[in-house]
């Protein structure tokens, strides 16, 4: 009887552990893939989605995807998008456990500046025109989605930059 209770308790414990690990492992794999291609704090513009695309299940074929892994352990970074074209464009942020903790609408915007920092580094005074995004972890993912106007098209924004907040360092766009 004791053995059965122990097995059931262990099952419950492992059940929760597996549930917690699934999203973290999937995100870790996706982040590793982006970092291996573009490094951290650099946008990677995914090729147009078609039937050969095997990166993430259930892709939306009409959308452009630009993805970056933001490393915030060294301090806040600024994500700057310029001249977002198309009828739909959004910037979304994901935690390491896959939660979409922030979304910004950006279609038709000439320039969007997002100050991304960990909660412990959140600033009470953010310059005008800059939106602060507080991240729940030191490493998060940012995804820019835009509607594909034509096949073989341009990314959703004409300018993608990520740089250390208050620093001149600017990462190159790939």
């Amino acid at each position: 009887m004791t053995a059965i209770i122990c097995i059931l308790l262990a099952t419950a414990l492992l059940h929760w552990l597996v549930l917690a690990l699934i999203p973290r492992l999937k995100m870790w794999k996706a982040m590793k893939q982006v970092v291996s291609i573009a490094g951290v704090n650099t946008f990677y513009h995914w090729p147009p989605v078609d039937s050969h695309s095997r990166n993430v299940v259930k892709p939306a074929p009409e959308l452009n995807y630009s993805v970056a892994v933001l490393e915030l352990s060294e301090g806040p970074v600024e994500v700057v998008l310029a001249d977002c074209s198309g009828s739909y464009c959004s910037v979304s942020f994901y935690s390491p456990q896959s939660d979409n903790f922030h979304v910004v609408k950006c279609d038709g915007i000439q320039e969007l500046c997002l100050h991304v920092c960990q909660r412990s580094h959140a600033s009470k005074s953010v310059p005008a025109g800059v939106e602060q995004v507080t991240a729940p972890a030191s490493r998060v993912v940012v995804v820019v989605r835009g509607i594909e106007e034509k096949k073989g098209r341009q990314p959703a924004s004409k300018g993608f930059e990520i740089h250390a907040a208050g620093d001149a360092w600017i990462a190159q766009t790939r």
Partner: protein, 194 residues
């Protein structure tokens, strides 16, 4: 030195544990997702998709079947794996998807194959959206999901044995999924086997 009996007992316990965990996770993902989601005929949606408030089963389900989904403030996803009769969608059959788009900034209807990726087809067509679908005079749409060309709005199913449909509404303007009724989402009517 461990006795043979102890080793066999230990192995049996580990096997039982692995089996129980695998079964409980598999069942938990299916049951909890269905219990905590809203059903509109064959369509299923969950308001907590992508949100930090998602329960662990939903979060794991989304990670496996739609990683990096947007939260409901930006997009609402409806998924169907069955037709109006409750029969699993089969790529060998012809279906009529008929409905009127809900108010939103943008919408799309995409079909996926067994592996939840886009289905290869000569037309290179994987979905319809507000811009690509040819609407009826009343603003509704009639999309034919079929392995062979049917009508103007033909969505190739490629003969896949199992299909999944996903309807996306970006920046929904219909006041949340709780206010929706079954008839407001597209009907999925099986017309014939090919």
């Amino acid at each position: 030195m461990l006795g043979t009996e102890t080793i066999v007992y230990g192995l049996a316990t580990v096997c039982a544990l692995v089996f129980l965990v695998a079964i409980s996770v598999w069942a938990g993902l299916r049951i909890a997702y269905h219990l905590t989601s809203l059903h509109f005929g064959p369509w299923i949606s969950n308001w907590a998709t992508g949100a930090a408030s998602a329960n662990p089963w939903l979060r794991a389900h989304v990670a496996l079947k739609g990683l990096m989904a947007l939260n409901a403030s930006e997009a609402v996803y409806f998924t169907a794996t069955k037709d109006d009769e409750g029969i699993s969608l089969n790529g060998q059959c012809c279906y009529l998807l008929e409905g009127k788009p809900l108010p939103s900034a943008w919408w799309s209807l995409t079909v996926y194959g067994n592996d939840l990726f886009l289905i290869p087809n000569e037309a290179e067509r994987f979905s319809f959206c507000g811009e690509s679908v040819r609407p009826e005079p009343d603003g509704s749409f009639r999309i034919y999901l079929s392995p062979r060309p049917v009508g103007e709005n033909w969505l190739p199913s490629g003969g896949e044995s199992r299909l999944t449909l996903t309807m996306r509404y970006y920046r929904p303007a219909f006041g949340g999924i709780n206010s929706l009724r079954k008839g407001q989402l597209p009907r999925i009517k099986r017309l014939q086997n090919q």
